[in-house]
Amino acid sequence: MRRARGRSIAAALLLGCLSLAACAEDAGNGNGTGTGGNGGTATNGGTDPTEETPEARVGLAFDVGGEGDQSFNDSAVAGLQQAIDEFGIESQKVSPNDDGSNRAELLAQLAEQGFNPVIAVGFAYDEVIADVAAEFPDTTFAQVDGSNAVFDGSSKGPNHTGLLFAEEQGSFLAGVAAALKTETDHIGFVGGVDIGLIQKFEAGYVAGATAVNPDIVVDVQYISPAGDFSGFGDPARGKIVAQGMYDGGADIVYHAAGGSGGGVFEAAAEADALAIGVDSDQYNTVGDPALQEVIMTSMLKRVDVAVYEFISSFIDGTVEGGTDIIYDLEVDGVGLATSGGQIDDIQDEIDSYKQQIIDGEIEVPTTP
């Protein structure tokens, strides 16, 4: 036993020495190899020989949470992948460190290494993207969830495009669906973090529900206050909050809580009630058949469409810049998922509300 341990320590030491030696060796001859972009980055999907290879090298900077969140960030990846498949472009995906302190450096390095366009995913880039865009005027930037306009009235620059979503419109339809489906006239909303972006979801949802039934009871609760982003990644607390709503009589709960949503689904399954997913079609991404059953629908936010269309317009040379592109119901930038078929019977009514929003007959509020 003791001997075996001794041997494994020796093995570990040996490996360490090897890697150190490799390092020393590398310092000698490795200086010539250029920075980055030399492994696992280039992708070349079936390029049409009749077409010229486009110049776009897309840099995609994730929000904290990064690739693999089965939601927001992965939707951006899907859009990028579609562009890669279609145009055969090169791309580079990067995530910030856990506390997001290197976001500016992330964008700047992408721009510096010649990636163009650079797409930042998330409003969290608000604080830094204007400076970086000014520093690299020849690079085209886009920001999912971040408006080009700054609150003081200025712009984030002519080379920055905001890719915004009318979350309140999609959430309105989610509220309509919930109000039509509820048997207790009591529904709930779980927000991840109490910030403006998530309040848009709440405002639309409540407006939609009360449009169907003015007397409906809507419980609203946020997992964490502004400044504490743990509410987007805490399924345990998501479950507790949702449980409270189900125990209180709600039978459908809509969540806009990112990774905490898994807990909401679990609470729904235990209470034999229903839940509404968010961002991507969570019926397909949740993975667990028991949880699939409780996902009545999901409010889709087509980040993939926005990312794909932006890359495509960059290649066409039609990016305007200095403005926002808004993805709303009219262009199907937001909407309800139908996987699972649980809202098929009320689809006509949902479509009628959708049409009224598109026609401007219903004005959906953006703040609660």
């Binding site: 570990a12 360490g16 890697s19 250029g34 972009g37 580079q92 500016a104 504490d228 703040t367």
Partner: protein, 381 residues
């Protein structure tokens, strides 16, 4: 001979820790199907031009400064045998109060800066002091109270930010306090770099580098060379003995917590004074917890903490170049974690070896009593 052995022992632990951590990281990188050699190259890949190398160093230093201050804050508690886990809450609360006071008042530049620093240190000290007072008057473990105070501090900071201290209008996605006026901002060191004939980095080298070094030196001198520092270390090593020799143990607990909290108040200032000029929802969080790791890494010695902070900054920068080489940035988190674990284990191994050696020499020379007591002490400090 004794000196050689002692130096060898001091260097043995970190070296062993680094080798073990690198080995484990290499295995992890192999396991995810990437090359450890590429990873190692990217760790040291600072770019080809001198501008990009200066930029890389700037990024490392800017990251290391708050980590160094956080490590110092935690280490003061450790020296006393106090585990101040509340550095996180202390600096968050200190930063928002400092940001608010700084933006509400206009003073001539040096005074304005001084006021912001004093507010930050005072708020941090008071918040940590609560835990100290609870410990001496009510016997509440500072581990529990500082964790609980973290929740309160973060909640309170959120309330202040979204309520009375809010500087951004309703409806904006990120929430922040009002920006500091010009007189409350700290100039970057880029001008100095220029005078030294170095290339200009793309981002500003934080002007807080110099105050941070000064604070480090002051802490080192106070702990090593003053009566107070001696009492602090004595209380940490053997509280009973310290009390017997006339140290006011209760007073020392409160003082240590106040100093620890005051240092914690500085953590947010490099960003506040030199980069963002406000506290907001996007303000860097988690530095207080990283400080615990940095203090462990530096074995509570200011110089060691500086190395620990630089190492973390160095690894943090590499997270980006690793991604450009197709290696997930989480590898860096794994390396950081294994290094800290390995350092803790190696310290323990070194301590045991030291004790065994001391016992052996004690057996051979019955008169060599004092060194036997001193050996573990030098390892522990």
């Amino acid at each position: 001979m004794n000196l050689v052995r002692r130096v060898g022992l001091t260097l043995f632990a970190p070296t062993l820790a680094l080798i073990v951590a690198l080995a484990i990281s290499a295995i992890v990188i192999l396991a995810i199907g990437e090359s450890p050699l590429v990873a190692l190259r990217e760790l040291f890949n600072f770019g080809d031009s001198s501008a990009s190398q200066i930029q890389a160093v700037t990024v490392i230093l800017n990251r290391a400064i708050p980590l160094f201050l956080a490590g110092l804050a935690v280490s003061i508690g450790f020296r006393m045998g106090l585990f101040n886990i509340g550095v996180e809450g202390q600096y968050r609360l200190a930063t928002i109060m400092a940001a608010w006071v700084g933006s509400a008042i206009v003073l001539p530049a040096p005074l304005h800066l001084l006021l912001i620093v004093v507010v930050a240190m005072a708020v941090g000290a008071i918040w940590a002091g609560i835990a100290g007072v609870l410990k001496v008057t009510r016997g509440v473990s500072e581990v529990i109270s500082t964790i609980m105070l973290n929740f309160i501090a973060i909640g309170l900071a959120s309330y202040l930010l979204t309520g009375p201290f809010r500087g951004t209008p309703e409806g904006s996605l990120t929430i922040a306090t009002e920006d500091l006026p010009e007189s409350g901002r700290l100039a970057s060191l880029n001008g100095l770099l220029g005078q030294l004939g170095l290339a200009q980095p793309r981002t500003d080298l934080s002007g807080f580098l110099i105050p941070a070094i000064v604070v480090g030196v002051v802490v080192a001198v106070v702990v090593k060379r003053t009566r107070f520092g001696f009492d602090l270390r004595a209380s940490g090593l053997n509280p009973a003995a310290a009390t017997t020799s006339g140290v006011n143990a209760k007073g020392m607990v409160v003082k240590a917590m106040l100093i620890s909290g005051g240092l914690a108040g500085l953590i947010g200032l490099p960003d506040l004074l030199g980069d963002t000029y406000h506290y907001g929802t996007e303000f860097t969080s988690g530095l207080g917890f990283l400080g615990i790791a940095v203090a462990l890494l530096g074995r509570n010695n200011p110089l060691g903490i500086a190395f620990g902070a630089l190492l973390f900054g160095f690894l943090d920068r590499a997270a980006l170049s690793l991604q450009f080489a197709g290696i997930p940035s989480q590898v860096v988190t794994i390396i950081q974690g294994t290094i800290v674990l390995a350092v803790v284990i190696a310290n323990e191994v070194a301590r045991r070896i030291a004790i065994r050696q001391a016992e052996r020499s004690g057996a051979n020379l019955p008169t060599a009593g004092p060194p036997a007591g001193e050996q573990p002490a030098t390892v522990a400090t």
